[in-house]
């Protein structure tokens, strides 16, 4: 039992990711991994797994998981949007203190960037859902 597990661990740490990236594993495997990633809000991984799962066939299960990831992207993007609105309202009401202006600016940029990344993920999956080609998204 221990030997089998050690072998599977070894597989997952060595050639596993390469085989996974080739998209040769069953679609259910990728969907399962996408749902795991979605649960952890690891959107980059969820998008990657949904993309790999949809290489061969885009059946009802794939469509639903894909839409779940899009939905989550929209929810998270709207949270960042609200945070941006909050910053702007606070700056309008209280003014922009000089000592905090840099911090505000950095936070604002971070929120904008997070929102934009989520929107591009959403667009990537939306294009796949509708059978359109799109450039892969990479989070820096």
């Amino acid at each position: 039992m221990v030997g089998l597990n050690a072998l599977s661990k070894l597989f997952r740490k060595t050639i596993g990711p390469r085989i996974e990236a080739l998209g040769l594993l069953p679609q259910r495997y990728y969907l399962h991994r996408a749902l795991d990633a979605l649960e952890k809000d690891d959107i980059d991984e969820a998008v990657r797994m949904v993309t790999l799962a949809g290489n061969d066939k885009k059946d009802a299960r794939w469509r639903l998981v894909c839409q779940q990831v899009i939905f989550r992207c929209r929810v998270l993007a709207s949270q960042h949007e609200k945070q941006l609105d909050r910053f702007e309202t606070e700056m309008e009401i209280f003014g922009k203190p000089i000592e905090l202006s840099d911090t505000y600016l950095r936070l604002q940029k971070a929120e904008e960037r997070a929102r934009d990344i989520l929107r591009s993920y959403e667009m990537t999956l939306f294009n796949q859902l509708n059978g359109r080609k799109s450039d892969p998204v990479t989070a820096e």
Binding site: Y29, F71, R72, F126
Partner: protein, 106 residues
Amino acid sequence: MDRKLSIPGGLTGALVGLAAELALEEITGMEIVNGLLAVIGAGFGLIRIDRRIYEATVNLLKRVPVEANSDYRDVLEQIDEMSLELPELRESFVKLVQAGIEAQKA
């Protein structure tokens, strides 16, 4: 054939197994039991994919942020807006809401 169970034998076997596992973990740095559980979990996940998709749908709704001053209509409106052009997911949400209403009636 007459087989006798030996409790000391069983305990010794368990102890040896545990020692072997700990030794292997120390040498290789691999978490054997956790790894095994992960593999079993992934196996069950493959079989139970429909159930997992259903649970993920419920989870998605649970994780929609609700602000303190918003009522259920605001939340519904938000869900409606977020699920635009996602027909299958929208249908799943409707079914979940209907099931919830039915459960409340019962």
